[in-house]
Subunit: 123 residues, 2 copies
Amino acid sequence: MEDQQQANIDDLCRCRCIHEDRVSLARKSALSDTENSHLSHFFKALGDPSRLQILWALEKGEMCVCDLAAFIGISESAVSHQLRLLRQLQIVVNRRDGAVLYYRLNNGYVSSLLQDTLKNLNR
Amino acid sequence: MEDQQQANIDDLCRCRCIHEDRVSLARKSALSDTENSHLSHFFKALGDPSRLQILWALEKGEMCVCDLAAFIGISESAVSHQLRLLRQLQIVVNRRDGAVLYYRLNNGYVSSLLQDTLKNLNR
DNA sequence: CTAGTATATGAGTATATGCTCAGATTATAA
DNA sequence: TTATAATCTGAGCATATACTCATATACTAG
C-alpha cells in the first residue's frame, strides 16, 4: 500500500520538463478550477452546430421552440434539450406568453462574440 | 417510392410553427454550412478543460510539449493529441529548435477572447 | 552507425454527447 | 371537466471524444 503510493508519487515527480521557469510562470497565472470549468462549459455550449444555429437566429430577435425547430430542421424535443443547456448556462432566457415560450439571448456578449469570431475566421 | 417521398415532404411541411416571418428572417441571415462548421469546430476546441489550460498557458509565452504536460498534469501523449487538434485549426503554431517543438498561440484573437469571456462570466 | 530524447500517431477503451421516442407538464379553450 | 397545443424531461442508443498504451518518427550526441 505504502510502496504503491510512493511509486505513484515518484512517477508523477519524474519530470523531464526542460523549462521549469516557464512551467512555474504558467502555474502562477493559471486559471482556477472554477474559472476553467465555467469557461470550458461556456465554449462547449457554443461548440455545436445546432446550438450555434439557435444562437445565431436568436441574435435577430426572440423565437419560440417550434420556430427554432422549423428553422434548424430538427425536432422540437431536440431543440428543447439544447435550450435547457443554454438556459442552465444563462446564455439564453425565456419569457412565457400563454403556452408559448419565447427565447432570447441573455445579453449582448454572445452576439458580439459570434460576430467577432466569424470575422476572425474569415480573416 | 413516389408516395414515400411525398409522405416525407408532407411530413417536413407539416409546420406548426407560429411565426413564419421570424423563421424566414432567420433563414435570410443564416450562417452558411461552412461558416457554421468552422465556428463550431473553433468553439469546440476551446470547450475542453485541458485545451483551455494549454491555451491559457501559451498566452504567457511559448512552451514545449513536456512543459505543458508537467503544467497540466496529463501525459505528453495526451498533450500532443490536443496540440494536433489546435494546430489543425490554426489556433496554435510551433517552431522547432532541435528535437524540441515550441508551441505558441497563432494570433492575438484567442488571447483576447479568453480574457473577455472570463470577464463576462465573472460579471 | 547506435543510443537516447522529444514528439507524433494509430488503436483501443471508457465516458460524454446529441438525438429520438414516449410520456409528463403547463396553459388555453370548449 | 376534457381536449388540444406547446414545451419539457427521462431513458435509450449511436456516435464523438479524451485519454492510455505501444509504436513510429525526428533530431542530437557519441
